[in-house]
Amino acid sequence: MSKARLFGYAVDDDDGKLVITIDGALAETAIRQIREGAHAGKGGELLMELLPISSLHKLISREKPAEEVLTLEQLLGQNVDQSFSAFEQQLQELRSSINDLSHSDDPDKV
């Protein structure tokens, strides 16, 4: 029975650079999916699953929190439906996402 490499995965330190190598029959499919995923703007979901340091890519592949189920009033209503304090909380969450983005944009901080 001939042996074929199904999937190989290696992480090496090459003079301070992190080098990840994948090979084998399954790797070809994975590489294609990564490439297509990146083109479609999916943010490298598969790449994140492959990487041991998922936190590195938490921004581009952040798991979406479940969206709230909207009532008919929420779907159709147009009046004020949140207090100022709730709005401030919303801004606080936005502040966190801005911080995340600014950190990810700065290569020195990765």
């Binding site: 709230e68 100022f84 801004l91």
Partner: protein, 371 residues
Amino acid sequence: MLRLSREDSVLLLTCRGHLQRQEEERLQGLVREDVNWAYIAWRAENNRTIPLLEYHLRRLGAFDVLPAPVKAYVERWTVMSRLRSALEFRNLGRILDALDQEGIPCFLVKGPDLALLYYPEPLLRPMTDVDIMIRAADAWRTQEVMFALGFRHGIFDPSSGGWTDDRKPLGQEMFRDTYALPVFVHIEKVEAPFPADALPAKLRHRHVKAYIGSNNVMHIPIFVDVHFNLSVGIDEEDIWSGVRLANALGRVVRVHSPTGAVWFLAARLYHEAFLYNSLRLLMLGDLHCVLHNQINDIDWAEVAAIAYKYEMRPALYYVLSQVRHLFGIDIPTGFLDLIRPDQKEIPLQHDWGDIVPKLFSIPSLHRVELA
């Protein structure tokens, strides 16, 4: 004397498209002071004036004073609103062409009329939906035209991108109880300008409805309100009075008369605020825009006649008096005296007093003294 806070003053100054030089200087002065920008953004969002706030602060070189999260929120809100407006205008063009081909007369009213004719930029004024006016007799044919264009009746869920079809046959009771056909919806799909998590859910669910899928495609519903009246019980001849032609969207279109826009906007602002608790500084800004551009074309006698005919005198008196006082618009005092509610007549039913405290949710009390 009701003294507005700095925040409310910023809101009042930025609810319209045009500012006088001294108003710009006033705004620049306020911006340099300690103001709560989060509060301003919250109120501006609910008054639908966020893009106008952004526009004035940016052109006056003051946008960078906003704290980062408020600035990001205002920027993203504005981009979403402008994108929606562009898609709305694209759809409006094909609706107008299709109605024209079918020989169905219509005119632009509310959002598209105001945004295209009176604001400094058409994309500046946010439009929750696109409003056009037809004659009631053309309702059935118009519905068929809209269906043929791919519009549907139903409910779009921006949290999931889901759609629930709700095709409604048009019945005679509709003309008695409402003033528009059931809303028509078409879902546009475009590349999202932001990832979904860069836009707070409330913004996507409530203010600029949109669903952003994992492939970065944004589903944005275009709502079209086809009116056959402006409110229940208004005579068709009063709706169509003064309708004129204008150049817009690269074609000649019928538009609402400035006189009609003035009485309708003033009455709507007042009644939406007191009857439905719907506070819209944007409508005050709309009124200012129409009067700023067309004050000499307003037929004040017609506005007064409408005010008496439909018992709109309190609404028109309080709103237009404040427009004169707050914005320095030269509304004739003789006209205001003519429509002013009289203490010696039977009290008018829809007289809730001044509009300004309500618009800013200020719990103000008149100081009362005995004679």
